[in-house]
């Protein structure tokens, strides 16, 4: 099978969905020129009516998508960097999440939001923070994040066809990661985790770039500790069943998440495992997260953010 990059897979999903459905369109800033590669060149095929650049007006930009979705269209809004979604947070999170429920399930809001996130570029907090946990905190929004090119294409397609708002950030650290991606149409359903590697001593739940880090660590520990690796792929809905099934075998859990330790998604998962799988555990759940400081820029990012060394230490600790 051919291999393409993760960002190339996102572009392919956008283009195929726009070809399939006239109501799908893209709104963002500098997306016509392709500020990130997944939007570059779309203007040539789809024109200015469907590839929209707005002023630096995040509320108006998100509102274009939100209002059009209320009108029955299927917009994709690109925030460029994840932190920029906070500029219109009351719209893209609070109002969006409550829309279907509060208005008596009369209308759904099929908006897809995306943005580049994460460490690795040395850009510091507002350009490097994780946003999936914050969006997952607000009910009514589905949240997913790909860790391979295959999942990127499939998750974006599933998100665009979903009738609910979906936030699907992609991590800049694996933007150029290459992998096998079928040319045909397929979807990766939201809410289905993927066991990326079989193992028997410990389960590592890791997403996006940290999933890739965890895979490297597991290879390194091969023969010493048998590591099972699960990629949640979506945070909302979350596939608890796959995680609990894995814990029946391994009885140990490390959750790796680049979001902050405090109030992040890793905390939610630890609590749920306590509630639903306490008897399966032979050791306390361990988390590897961003320490509770603004994400630093510069070189210190490398040793502050979750990384292979920290993941390895956590695995050894939980298995000791």
């Amino acid at each position: 099978m051919r291999t393409i990059t993760l960002i190339g897979a996102i572009k392919e999903a956008l283009a195929e969905e726009m070809r399939r459905d006239e109501d799908v369109f893209l709104v963002g800033q500098d997306v016509r020129g392709g500020i990130f590669p997944h939007t570059k060149g779309l203007i040539e095929e789809f024109g200015e009516e469907r590839i929209l650049d707005t002023p630096i007006s995040e509320s108006g930009m998100y509102g274009t998508a939100m209002g059009a979705a209320q009108e029955g269209m299927r917009p994709i809004v690109d925030f460029m960097f994840g932190g920029f979604s906070y500029v219109t947070f009351s719209e893209c999170s609070v109002s969006t999440g409550q829309y279907h429920f509060l208005h008596g399930s009369q209308r759904s809001l099929p908006v897809v939001m995306t943005a580049g996130v994460g460490t690795g570029q040395r850009l510091a907090n507002d350009h490097a923070m994780s946003i999936h946990g914050t969006f997952a905190h607000h009910p009514g929004i589905k949240v997913a994040m790909p860790s391979t090119p295959y999942d990127a294409k499939g998750l974006f397609k599933a998100a665009i066809r979903d009738n609910n708002p979906v936030m699907i950030p992609w991590h800049m650290g694996i933007m150029m990661l290459k992998g096998e991606v079928p040319e045909e149409d397929y979807m990766v359903p939201l809410g289905v985790a993927d066991v990326k590697r079989q193992g028997s001593d410990v389960t590592v739940l890791a997403n996006s770039v940290q999933l890739q880090n965890a895979l490297k660590v597991a290879d390194k520990l091969d023969g010493e500790i048998s590591v099972e690796i699960i990629d949640p792929r979506s945070f909302v809905p979350f596939d608890m069943e796959t995680l609990l099934t894995s814990l029946e075998k391994t009885n140990r859990l490390v959750v790796v998440d680049e979001d902050w330790e405090s109030g992040g998604f890793a905390s939610t998962i630890s609590a749920r495992v306590m509630e639903q799988g306490f008897d399966l555990l032979d050791a306390p759940v361990t988390r590897v997260c961003m320490p509770n400081m603004p994400v630093p820029g510069g070189y210190m990012e490398e040793y502050v953010a979750p990384n292979p060394d920290k993941i390895e230490a956590a695995i050894r600790n939980v298995c000791a």
Binding site: T54, A65, G67, H100, H103, G104, N164
Partner: protein, 327 residues
């Protein structure tokens, strides 16, 4: 554009209805027969009626929150029985009793009432975008108060509407007040509509106590927007006779609004003004006016009876959880 006799009759009827609906809401709040809060629109009913009476069903409307949008919605032809049921927490409410005052009538393109002031502005760009792409002459009537124009999103929406020449009417109901704060203090120019100038958008200021004047201006703006001439700003100078919402003191800044102030603004009560006009130009006789009032009271009685006869919505937690996401 001068109004036909038929148009004046419709406007007058809607004005009387809107005013009586407001009085009903006020009474019910005092009686404890309304949930949440109520922001009376007494003294400020004419703008909504003038803006919405001649909209088509497939035009988008953001009703102003004051009077919780009823002046606007009844003028657009929406059956508000399910609105009152919603506002009383009933199963038959337009949002199944889940929303308090966050009503929505998507079939009439009233997509949301937001609890965040100014949160009409972002989605209105999307409604305008959809209208322009479909090119069927649909317009967006985007009504909100003077206070809402303090929000950056208002400025963003005006900027983008003008960039893209979207069929949006920025309809500002300027009652000079935002809770306790006055527009005089909170806005640096006499007219909120001066903002439009910065975006190269045409703007008009109209006497918001005169429902016929408002309707003339609105009709012209709607016609222009339908033709694809882009956005327009309409500012209605109106009044808020009551406190901001029932139970809140009636202050300007931190001091009571004075009896003299009240007496002054009440000189121009919109229903009285309209009544004088329709009698003077012989659009209506006193007998017809009385009949319009009677019919409105009867309509409202039925709306109340519907809400009161409905059961309180108490769905199970499981059922609610099953409705967080759409299928």
């Amino acid at each position: 554009m001068s109004l036909t006799k038929e148009q004046k009759l419709t406007l007058f009827t809607n004005l009387v209805r809107a005013d009586l609906y407001d009085k009903m809401m006020y009474r019910r709040m005092m009686q404890g027969k309304l949930i949440g809060f109520y922001h009376p629109i007494e003294g400020g009913v004419a703008p909504g009626v003038g803006a919405c009476t001649f909209l088509n069903k497939d035009d988008n409307l953001n009703p102003h929150h004051r009077g919780h949008g009823m002046a606007h919605m009844i003028s657009k032809g929406i059956d508000v029985r399910t609105f009152l049921a919603e506002h009383t927490g009933k199963e038959t409410g337009c949002c199944k009793g889940r929303s308090a005052f966050h009503f929505s009538y998507p079939d009439h393109k009233v997509y949301q009432m937001s609890g965040f002031i100014g949160h009409n502005f972002a989605p209105c760009v999307g409604w305008g975008y959809a209208a322009k792409r479909r090119a069927q002459g649909q317009v967006v009537m985007n009504c909100s108060g003077d206070g809402s124009y303090g929000q950056g999103r208002a400025h963003e929406a005006m900027l983008m509407a003008q960039n893209w020449k979207l069929p949006i009417i920025f309809f500002c109901e300027n009652n000079g007040m935002s809770i306790f704060s006055t527009a005089k203090e909170m806005h640096p120019t006499e007219n909120i509509s001066s903002l439009a100038q910065g975006f190269g958008m045409p703007a008009v200021v109209v006497d918001g106590q005169d429902v016929f004047a408002v309707a003339e201006v609105a009709l012209a703006a709607i016609a222009d927007a339908r033709k694809g001439k882009g956005p327009v700003f309409i500012e209605c100078k109106t009044e808020r006779f009551t406190e901001h919402d029932i139970g809140t003191p009636d202050l300007a800044g931190w001091e009571d609004r004075t009896p003299a102030q009240h007496e002054d603004m009440r000189k121009r009560e919109p229903v009285n003004l309209a009544t004088e006009r329709v009698l003077a130009d012989k659009t209506l006789t006193q007998a017809r006016i009385d009949a319009i009032r009677e019919a409105a009271l009867k309509e409202i009685e039925e709306v109340e009876a519907f809400a009161d006869a409905s059961e309180i919505a108490r769905p199970s937690e499981e059922e609610l959880l099953a409705n967080v996401f759409a299928p």
